[in-house]
Symmetry: C2
Subunit: 117 residues, 2 copies
DNA sequence: CTATTATATTGTAATATCGCAATACTAGAG
DNA sequence: CTCTAGTATTGCGATATTACAATATAATAG
């Protein structure tokens, strides 16, 4: 990915954004623990609205982090491949060493910093 | 990270968000290629305003992806450790297999999908 | 066919991020 | 001290994302 086009970096940023939401991370962890779950099962585990979850699932699927398998009326989601847990593990390792600093990160600029604690 | 608190997932999401911006990705790639660069050198390479870049650098630093070393009036940035290039490589590998789908991803819901092409 | 269940999509108000300009802070030279 | 160069922070309009409710689509049973 050395010195790619601005366009490519924009797409790559969109890919990472799939990981940048608590609900999407919880979906990935649930799938990692349980293997495969359909939408209704995920709604139960996460306790959020079905339509809302479905939007997040579409995002994860488009970004190649999960795949789906239709079984009758049910659609089962599972992690796309072994690289996904690897990605989560490496990210978590770095995060664990810096979670206190992340808490103070106004992501890019002026989010009123407290707001979280 | 199995079944952590909602609070923890929110912070973890903020960590991933550090990777979710074209400028921040370009900074990481530049540092990977060149080892260490100060702010002025990064301004030259990226062609963006100094204040704007500085905000992005603060984000990367808070999230543990880069560290800094002050030398006189200059502040040199470099990748935090070897896990960072690993993270970028794994993410890029997945991304490369799905970039066409990512392009159609309205991240979570209704971004007017074209807008990019 | 109709009714029912499972999942996906859309509209939009609330909220968060981005990009830029202006300004403040810090270290060194003289 | 003052001056200058390098870096960090702040304010705010523009834009993008999120959460929720409503609605649409798909598959199966009867």
């Amino acid at each position: 990915m050395n010195q790619q086009s601005t366009e490519t970096y924009a797409l790559w940023a969109d890919f990472w954004q799939a990981l940048s939401h608590p609900i999407r991370l919880r979906v990935l962890e649930a799938l990692r623990c349980e293997g495969a779950l359909n939408v209704g099962q995920l709604v139960d585990r996460l306790g959020i609205g079905q339509g809302h979850l479905s939007n997040h699932l579409a995002c994860l699927k488009n970004c190649g982090l999960v795949t789906t398998e239709a079984q009758g009326r049910y659609v089962y989601y599972h992690l796309a491949d072994d690289r996904v847990p690897t990605l989560l593990d490496v990210g978590e390792a770095i995060f664990r060493d810096h979670w206190a600093d992340v808490a103070t990160c106004a992501v890019v600029s002026q989010r009123p910093v407290p707001a979280r604690g």
